[in-house]
């Protein structure tokens, strides 16, 4: 079992914390540094491009080849950045990992060396003449990523649906912006985005591994306590607004299989009902014994997948599936029919027990790997009291059938998106 320790870096109001999670059984170490700040349409591309620029160079290793060579020396350590959406906020996340120091063949301090590289990326990015280097190559990468969403038709359908579901909200604009936004980003925009990041973002630093050295903690303290901080971001998660009527959209592309997305809204924060929603999701569609799997896939043979996923920060529930054009109406009706059955309480009690067993089991597994235990505590850092997976298992146990019925009755169909092939 791991031990966890969270300390502020400097005064609490500076919004910077270090969490260390130590378990001697871990074979690898994982480091994450997460900057969270508001999602703003006008700066979407600059904020995103910054993640690409800071990812694989710094002043010690100003060239991508040198940078990767150093990672290679650290036993093939990984270090990457990502842009992620958390409702109306966005994360710029540094994720890194390598093998535990005990496996280093020559006694190298791998976690410390890796943290030094991350600090270099954050505090001493590769710059020349007052500007970031490699802007054009990184801009091309960003544009490639924006345009290549079309390659994955399921992701494309979910992205297009999100534009409709969250219309008029920060989440209704692409996280990475549009191609035209990316083309317009200047070095000044990037410098502003960089300064805003360091000054205002909430910063959560996580380390999970078999042990942590004082040297590592000292490095984090020294580097992060020296940042100038103003107007540090605080969080308020507003549920996505109801529409006056169900919005429907059909798009045509050269696809073999139709993709359908249904979105339901709840109107109140999911965070306060997390236990109920987790069980509801398992009963409705997450498990192979769930109503959607059993009926839409197995009984009616309409699809290979029919997946449910809650957006916690926006209080939205989506169901997405890939199917024949001729079956879309039948599948939609069945997805709604199964929800109606839950609303009426017409489902087996066994399903709830199975869902709880599955959820508690998945919570127990959280402690098996450094990255999953970090994910748990990072997710929970956005809301409420930070409880352990074990504590959360006890809460799950108390969810009743009535809770699930009440939650199902609160869901309102918001949007239906269909991506279909030209021939269909």
């Amino acid at each position: 079992m791991y031990t966890i320790n969270t300390v502020p870096i400097g005064a609490a109001k500076r919004g910077i914390r270090l969490t260390t999670i130590i378990d001697p059984k871990f074979k690898v170490s994982s480091i994450q540094v997460c900057f969270t700040f508001p999602r703003v349409k006008e700066t979407a591309a600059a904020d995103s491009l910054l993640a690409y620029i800071l990812e694989d160079t710094n002043s010690d290793y100003p060239d991508m080849t040198l940078f990767n060579k150093r990672l290679s020396e650290l036993y093939g350590a990984s270090l990457s950045t990502s842009n992620r959406s958390v409702g109306n906020y966005r994360e710029l996340l540094f994720s890194a990992g390598t093998i535990s120091d005990k496996y280093a063949l020559d006694g190298e301090e791998l976690s410390y060396e890796l943290m030094k590289m991350i600090c270099g990326c954050i505090f001493e990015p590769a710059m020349q003449d007052g500007g970031f280097t490699n802007i054009e190559l990184k801009r091309n990468e960003l544009i490639d990523d924006i345009t290549s969403v079309i390659n994955d038709k399921r992701s494309y359908a979910l992205k297009q649906a999100a534009m409709m579901i969250y219309e008029g909200e920060p989440s209704g604009y692409p996280l990475r912006g549009e191609v035209s936004d990316a083309k317009a980003v200047t070095n000044d925009d990037l410098i502003k985005a960089y300064n805003r990041l360091l000054e205002t973002a909430r910063i959560e630093i996580f380390f999970a591994g078999s042990s942590v050295s004082q040297k590592f903690i000292q490095l984090v303290n020294e580097r992060f306590s020296s940042i100038r901080r103003t107007d540090v971001c605080s969080f308020s998660f507003a549920p996505s607004a109801f529409k006056t009527e169900v919005r429907e959209k059909t798009e045509t592309l050269d696809v073999v299989q139709c993709k359908m997305v249904l979105a339901f809204k709840h109107g109140e924060s999911f965070y306060q009902r997390e236990d109920i929603i987790t069980v509801f999701a398992a009963v409705y569609g997450r498990l192979p014994t769930s109503l959607l799997f059993k009926n839409v896939r197995e009984k009616m043979s309409l699809c290979y997948y029919c997946a449910v996923s809650p957006s916690w920060s926006k209080a939205v529930f989506t169901v997405d599936s890939g199917l024949e054009a001729v079956n879309t109406e039948t599948a939609k009706n069945e997805i709604l029919h199964q929800l109606d059955l839950i609303k009426k309480g017409e489902f087996a009690d066994d399903l709830i027990d199975q869902a709880k067993t599955f959820i508690k089991s998945s919570y127990r597994v959280t402690g098996d790997s450094p990255s999953s235990v970090i994910s748990w505590y990072l997710d929970r850092s956005y809301y409420g009291p930070v409880d352990t997976p074990e504590e959360h298992s006890r809460v799950i146990e108390k969810v009743t059938k009535e809770d699930i019925i009440a939650f199902a009755n609160s869901l309102v169909l918001d949007s239906v998106y269909l991506l279909k092939g030209a021939e269909s």
């Binding site: 060579k69 290679s72 036993y75 091309n140 073999v256 192979p288 199975q354």
Partner: protein
């Protein structure tokens, strides 16, 4: 029953290998203090095994493409119950997959391991196929096939393999086609089942904080002793040369995508771990993110971060390959070819070679804390006959730069390579495959 402990001094890890009286090989990797327990019951039966015979058969039979995958789906349906319902009662999550050369049934759980293992061993040994249940699956698998047809990476990969191989069934989609699965009958499924799901052709691999005695006791109770049927599976004889050097198609993608492979002779089981490691190291030296070639192509804007290298290898096939996105795939091919020829003359830098070996060692260590990774390593080592689960770690430690150069000279013939390209619709000249 024979039992041995297999240990690797280099990393201080060990696992247990048991040859059960039923004919099944059982591998157990104990992971004290970990919550997740993972078990895989696998057979040497994949999409390439379309022509086979046992000692009971007069002649070889050829079955429809995709039947191994179809059988995997149908085995989850027993006469009296659905396997997922049984798993749900123990809190386990079950799944299965079919690859080119194996089919594996697996589960993960934290509690009730013994009861869940009983479910796994029971249903995999209890086939039940009827006209009605077989027909029902065509809709679901048909949608799975169509889902992959919308996946450009999938199209790219099989496009490249079709360029490399003339006849080897590895060029065919694992799930078959809508047309081929329409030919599948209960009788064919039973024939395949009784040929390949023989315990002599299978393996049970388990990783987690488990009790070995309990596992053996359950196996003693449930495994049905089987006679070795002397199964023989054949693939059509394959010419040494690639089928085509270049092919392309158009599809709904953002940028042109390419996959570039080198036809290389298949490897014997005993050599498999070493030669795969050699291949991985060689293609890394040629073109990973620390290589001059990568930097040159990246700085020219010729590749982006999607560029990747891979050794695609298994029973009867071996293809080192490069893939990615590029506005000019032909130029990428030209530069890779030039680099191969240059390196054949100049060799590689010793410091990069040592770093890549270190990285490879690191990637193997990363599996150690992960029950599903370890169970997968175990099952692969058994079904692939690759010696033991530590073969890769030992092989990497012993590889020299001279070995790499021999490998490069022998297996990277730029005149026996094939590139497949997917062009975006808008910029494409035509919508047809050539």
């Amino acid at each position: 029953m024979q039992r041995e402990v297999i240990t690797n001094e280099r990393i201080g890890e060990s696992y247990v290998r048991i040859m059960h009286d039923s004919g099944l090989e059982i591998l157990i990797w104990k992971m004290p203090d970990f919550s997740l327990k993972h078990a895989i019951f696998g057979t040497r039966y994949g999409s390439v095994n379309t022509t086979f015979k046992t000692k009971d058969d007069a002649d070889f039979v050829t079955v429809p493409e995709g039947i191994a995958h179809y059988l995997e789906h149908k085995l989850f349906e027993n006469e009296d119950t659905d396997v997922f319902d049984l798993y749900a009662k123990t809190g386990a999550i079950g799944n299965a997959y079919t690859s080119f050369d194996k089919t594996c049934y697996l589960f993960s759980c934290t509690d009730n391991f013994g009861d869940t293992l009983r479910i796994l061993l029971d249903f995999v040994q209890k086939p039940y196929f009827t006209e009605e249940t077989v027909a029902k699956e065509q809709g679901i698998i048909g949608q799975e096939i169509k889902m992959y047809e919308d996946n450009p990476d999938w199209r790219l990969f099989f496009g490249m393999l079709s360029g490399i191989y003339h006849k080897n069934p590895v060029r065919i989609n694992i799930a078959g086609t809508v047309e081929s699965i329409a030919q599948i009958t209960p009788e064919l499924l039973y024939r395949c089942y009784y040929s390949f799901y023989n315990l002599h052709n299978m393996c049970l691999a388990i990783a987690g904080d488990v009790d070995e005695d309990e596992i053996i006791s359950i196996c003693d109770e449930l495994l049905k002793k089987s006679e070795d049927k002397e199964l023989v599976s054949v693939v059509p004889e394959e010419p040494d040369e690639v089928a085509v050097k270049y092919a392309e198609q158009t599809f709904e993608v953002a940028n042109p995508m390419f996959s570039y492979g080198f036809k290389s002779r298949p490897v014997d089981d005993s050599e498999f771990s070493r030669v795969c490691a050699l291949s991985d190291i060689t293609i890394s030296l040629l073109a990973d993110e620390t290589s001059p070639l990568y930097k040159k192509m990246y700085d020219m804007g010729l590749i982006n971060l999607e560029f990747a290298t891979e050794t695609f290898a298994g029973c009867g096939f071996f293809v080192p390959c490069f893939s990615g996105e590029s506005k000019d795939p032909s130029k990428v091919r030209e530069m890779i070819d030039e680099e191969i020829e240059r390196r054949k003359k100049t060799g590689f830098e010793a410091d990069r070679f040592e770093n890549i070996k270190k990285s490879y060692y690191g990637s193997l260590i990363r599996h150690l804390g992960n029950a599903d990774s370890l169970a997968t390593i175990l099952v692969n080592s058994s079904l692939g006959h690759t010696g033991n689960a530590f073969s890769s770690i030992d092989a990497v430690a012993d590889i020299t730069l001279d070995d790499v150069m021999d490998f490069l000279n022998e297996r990277f013939d730029i005149n026996n390579s094939s590139m497949y390209v997917i062009k975006p619709r808008a910029s494409a000249d035509s919508g047809e495959e050539s």
